[in-house]
Amino acid sequence: MSATAKQAEAPAAAGATEVMTYREALRMALREELARDERVFLMGEEVGTFEGAYKVSAGLLDEFGPDRVRDTPIAEEGFVGAGVGAAMLGERPVVEIMTINFLLVAMDQVINHAAKIGAMFGGQVRCPLVIRTPNGAGNQLTAQHSQSFDGWFAGTPGLKVLAPATPADAKGLLKAAIRDDDPVLVIENLPIYKEKGPVPLDPEHVVPIGLAAVAREGSDLTVVSHSYATVRALHVAEQLAGEGVSVEVVDLRSLRPLDMETVAASVSKTGRAVCVEEGWPSYGVTAELAARIQKACFDDLDAPIERVGMAEVPLPYAKNLELAAMPNEERLAGAIRATLGLAA
């Protein structure tokens, strides 16, 4: 434990960063918070000995022991609920759900319990629970393991839902979630774990909840995205810059609370918005964004708000079908061009 604390303090050169993967940034956040606060503990399937299905918690069992890094049986409803209860007594559980698809069997605990505690009990008891889980598709995992439900949770009052897109935000937002006194869902993404970027080594690098980031400035059109869709959007923006199109990318970072001020300011500036998400757009995050943008920016809109998301089918296995269904960069670029009235 003390070794960890030292590790967290050691690199404290102000502003120092290190390039690492999204996965490593998450691990850094977990390690720092485990070291900082005794109330923090990890819980989930294979988080300990196996070091996490996606290796986010690698090394943490050795460092913090089985009480702080707690393997669970395959029983999401049970251990998510256990996280809810532990949080009610002031613990800071960080529950890992292997993929968001498995969170469905714990929906009752998330929606009916965690999200309700604050309001339903008149604010007399809080639930500082963190659930972190990857969304998304892309590795031929097929219909039952290739879904994105961020919109479901982000539409539930009582929850906070974060969706970092960069390694730096992965660290800063996970830490913010752990330190927050409310239930927070941190949505990660399978393909994003390998993404690299500079991450502040400062153990106090905490990104405020409810603050979007302008990931890239531009003047012709705003792409509103979060999580892996932001990675795609930045690639497409770079590509289109070569064609003389100036795309601004707003990375939401937080879905609930949603920083509409940043979104509205950007769209009012550019007059055009393309909203993109990894999941199905119907009734999704982009649906919400479109509704809010049209209201907030009506008199500044120069084109209909466009949306890009996963094709509305259960995701098939065949690689070509999967690729076609995903909100790939080609489709995003097409949506941008169409919104700008350019030839596709």
Partner: protein, 413 residues
């Protein structure tokens, strides 16, 4: 509110010619309405007792109820009227909205009328179709007093986008100083609301200057032959005696027939070339400017042109000009010579390709055969839309007008 012109969106009740309760007959004039183009008299299309709904001075969108005749809404042109009556019912009954709503909702099917035309949105094209424009384009147009109907959209599907309105770039309406007492140092400001016609002029002229890449050509025309011709016609007691302007109109008409581009328009990225040569003649009216059209001027005798021009000018002065007489022009002649203006540049009346500005006819010292002589001359300036009429073509077109006026027999044969 009846639709009385192609581009009308709303109208103002000027004067009721009958009172509420009076019996009116079908075809009887009942109301004067100011449209965007002219003041129109509207006739009842039903027999019955008149019930006035909209008072004088009221400005209403097309389709709004202005009166009922014999219990029907006027205009009684079917569906809109029926729907309007029903739509008003709850308010009249002063009943709770909930109680009335089902009745109103059920009403249209009972009327057995086709679906009522929806209330016309703010921006409608000349053909009555809704103008496709983005919200920001609409806002900018509103702020700058730009008529969206005259803008060619560059966005997907022809949508007018912000850049199009900016290109149309009229002076911001906000530039009109809303100055209170002692505010501007210009003394008291009298704020005058524009009439419909003035609003149209403002919009179209601003749109023209903002969107048309124009160039001008000026030419001096020796009018001695025209002066002689007119003297002869006068001596023949021709009635009416054609004016020099009538001769200019005829000359232009003949030249237009030979230069199709000058008798066309640049529209939607294409040239529109018109089969009829209809020359508009700008006429000053009270507080306004209108351009009545002499249709098929190339095919009409000079005398006929003279007669029509006189009639039209009279109707303009009397405020009786009707929209059909003001539309359909393919070219415009504007003459300020009677005010002693020697030459000037006119603003193109879009989407026409050109306009000819005619200056004063006056004796002038010119060199002829190496000698200085006095000749009646007249300066004309052709303003051209370079998108359709290019320099050399325009020069030839103008030269043809000059040739016709310098040899005016061609105008009377």
């Amino acid at each position: 509110m009846p639709r009385l012109s192609d581009s009308m969106e709303e109208g103002t009740i000027l004067k009721w010619l009958k009172a509420s309760g009076e019996e009116v007959a079908r075809g009887e004039e009942i109301v004067e309405i100011e449209t965007d183009k002219a003041n129109m008299t509207y006739e009842s299309d039903a027999d019955g007792s008149l019930e006035i709904v909209a008072q004088e001075g009221a400005t209403l969108p097309i389709g709004a109820v202005i009166a009922r005749v014999g219990g029907e809404a006027a205009p009684a042109d079917g569906a809109p009227a029926a729907a309007q009556v029903e739509a008003e019912a709850p308010a009249e009954a002063e009943a709770p909205a909930e109680a009335e709503a089902p009745t109103a909702a059920e009403a249209p099917p009972e009327a057995e009328a086709p679906a009522p035309e929806p209330a016309r949105p703010a921006a409608a094209g000349a053909d009555g179709e809704r103008v496709k424009a983005s919200p920001v384009a609409r806002r900018l147009a509103r702020e700058r007093g730009v008529d969206l109907a005259g803008i060619q959209g560059s966005g997907p599907g022809g949508r007018i986008v912000k850049a199009d309105v900016e290109a149309a770039g009229a002076a911001p309406a906000a530039a009109a100083p809303a100055s209170g007492p002692g505010g501007s140092g210009k003394g008291e400001t009298q704020v005058v609301e524009l009439s419909k016609l003035q609003q149209v002029i403002a919009r179209r002229m601003a749109e023209s200057k903002a969107t048309v890449p124009e160039f001008t050509l000026t030419s001096e025309i020796d009018m001695e032959a025209c002066v002689a011709l007119r003297g002869e016609l006068k001596a023949l007691e021709h009635d009416p005696v054609p004016s020099y302007n009538d001769m200019v109109v005829k000359a232009c008409a003949l030249a237009l027939r030979e230069y199709p581009r000058a008798n066309g328009a640049y529209k939607d990225g294409r040239f529109e070339l018109y089969s009829r040569v209809n020359v508009g003649v700008a006429v000053a009216a009270t507080d306004a400017l209108v351009v009545p059209t002499i249709f098929d001027a190339d095919a009409k005798a000079l005398g006929q042109i003279a007669a029509e021009a006189r009639t039209l000018a009279g109707r303009v002065r009397d405020g009786k000009i009707t929209p059909p007489e003001l539309s359909g022009g393919t070219f415009t002649v504007s003459n300020l010579g009677m005010f002693g203006v020697t030459d000037f540049v006119a603003v193109i009346n879009p989407p026409q390709a050109a306009i000819l500005a005619v200056g004063a006819l006056a004796p002038k010292a010119v060199v002829r055969d190496g000698a200085l002589v006095a000749r009646h001359t007249m300066s004309v300036t052709l303003t051209c839309d370079h998108r359709i009429l290019y320099g050399a073509d325009a020069a030839q077109f103008l030269a043809r007008i000059r040739a016709l006026l310098e040899h005016p027999l061609a105008l009377v044969v």
